[in-house]
Amino acid sequence: MVEALLVLFSPDLMALMVVGLFIGIFAGALPGLQGGSAIALCLPFTLTMSPLQALIFLMSIFAGAGFGGGVTAVLIGIPGSPAAIATVFDGYPMARKGLQARALGIALGASSAGSLLGSILLLIFLFPLSRVALTFGPVELVLTISMGLLVIALVHGKSVPKGLLAGAFGIVLGTVGIAPSGASRAMFGIPYLLDGFPFNATLVGLFAVPSLINMVQIDYIAQGPRQVLSVREIVRGLFVPLRYPFAFLRSALIGVGIGLIPAAGAAVACVVSYNIGRVVSHRGARFGTGEEEGVVCAESADSSSEGGSAATMFALGIPGGSATAVLLGALILQGWVPGPRMVFDHLDVINSVLWGNVLQALMLVPTGLIFSYFAEKTLRIKTRTLVPLLFAIIVFGVYAIRGQIIDVWVMIGFGLVAFMLERRDYPLINVVLGLLLGPLFEAEVIRAVTLYSGRWERVLERPTAIGLVVLLVVIVSLPSLLRRLRSARRAAG
């Protein structure tokens, strides 16, 4: 532990943490550019870094983006990311009452504390969880990956068939190249496709390009009358979550729990936590009118879910959302093999990263405070100045990795496809999951068939597999059950 902490206090890692937090907060605050897009943008710059430096830097962006989304949610009523949607409900009414500094302080306090709790829980439970994950055989892994793809199709998209098609499309794209058995698939004689599509170019294309194309449609991030932000009020707001300890703890635990579910993500966590808060709290009736507790519920769940989704990513190699999907891509670029062995194969790095998460949650307070104070000016940057600059950076970054201009063409191609898919409500995260996990899914299915062929009854001897099947059935049938229950209630009342 002491060793892991000592490593973290080196100047380069501390600097990467601060820079990462600022980039994350800024990117999170830009409507349309989410944590995943920001990580994808910075991905090419991590290739010259060691795995620890890369992870610390990218995880800092992840942590910063969790709070950044709340800044625009409070100040202009537009969530910087979907995960900040519930922050708008009470944060923006507070700003309209002239309490914008206090609302920002509450969001920052709840976000940092939520992130801290999520990081501590990750620190405590990652290794036991990973030990359980180590007992996972191919059947359990196939079921978990399927669960991830199904959850997204059912929860994120507006249409289940489109969500499933997006996942299948991702798997098709992810398995281009040489098959595990040695045959070439969908290469059309192009040697470039031997190893499939390059991760960096596809991830940047899928996440960053559509965000930037969309961003060019708005002139400024924030417009309208200037808002006065007093540091004293922000600092006072920081301590408000302490007044609602139960709301905070409940929301943070909900965040971690939902974050653990493969592919559920922070957006689901914060909406669920906010709605539970509204039902449970005796101030619930005031939610939506500028109630401080509402901001605490939304922000603490949003940030704590990072710990949960990071646990699933590290323990099983399955991302919890778009940001962790890109993080997983970064790990693959560093030569790591996703899966239950990942934590034990890179124990020392993971140990430092876990402590780094705790440190990032603490450092989020000063960096968030500085950003909040200057948010008024920062958010008045012309997006039409920012977009060409960010495009130049991503072209440079993607080219820099392998020095091949074809990678940039692949990025543009994937970017345009992603832009069109997004417009027609195909969940991009499902395409990414299919792309990243397709090869792993295929390898595990082959292993399962080789192991159990003709002896499938032996799967019944594995309680985890049975549990996962039950969970899978519940996940698949729950939405239609809830819909039927709601319509039955409506018919009755």
């Binding site: 098959a179 058995s181 045959a183 698939r185 930037l212 100045t385 977009v387 060409p388 495009f391 820099a400």
Partner: protein
């Protein structure tokens, strides 16, 4: 009671383009792998995935394109004023994508600083930045900054 609005013709065309693209990729994949030996493990996963994708393509086609057409629930095309507004909104996006494609096309043909400065300057002006000082300084600073970072920090050989 307001009647539920159907999709517009533009929506249907959009759906058809995206679905066509997915179908093209899935179809091309299926076409390429048809000659792979079937008995081995080559297509154990991909054959069901391709079949599932095919079924889902038909489902999406039926639900989002054919059904509104059959039911006659397609809204009329946007009027000229609305259409003009949509074009105005799309113009900056088209400009950015066009410039990105052009930038990539000439990326290796000209020195990095020249292409990047030109890309930045033209895109900034095209997006409405009028001050020559701002456009010039941002463009040059970005190009030189990235060049120095690439050559000195990351050790990348740039054109």
């Amino acid at each position: 009671m307001s009647e539920k609005q159907g999709p517009s013709r533009g929506d249907l065309i959009g759906e058809a383009v995206v679905l066509g693209l997915i179908a093209l990729v899935v179809g091309a994949y299926a076409w390429d792998v048809r000659s792979i030996p079937q008995k081995a493990l080559n297509l154990m996963v991909m054959r069901p995935v391709l079949i599932l994708a095919g079924i889902l393509i038909v489902v999406v086609l039926g639900r989002y394109i054919a059904w509104p057409l059959v039911k006659g629930r397609v809204e009329a095309a946007a009027g000229p004023a609305e259409g003009g507004g949509a074009l105005r909104r799309a113009a900056p996006m088209v400009l950015v994508v066009g410039m990105l494609v052009l930038y990539t096309a000439v990326f290796t043909a000209l020195p990095f600083v020249v292409t990047t400065t030109l890309f930045m300057a033209i895109t900034l002006v095209g997006l409405g930045n009028r001050s020559p000082l701002v456009v010039g300084s941002i463009s040059l600073a970005t190009a030189v900054g990235l060049y120095v970072m690439g050559e000195r920090v990351l050790g990348v050989v740039l054109p």
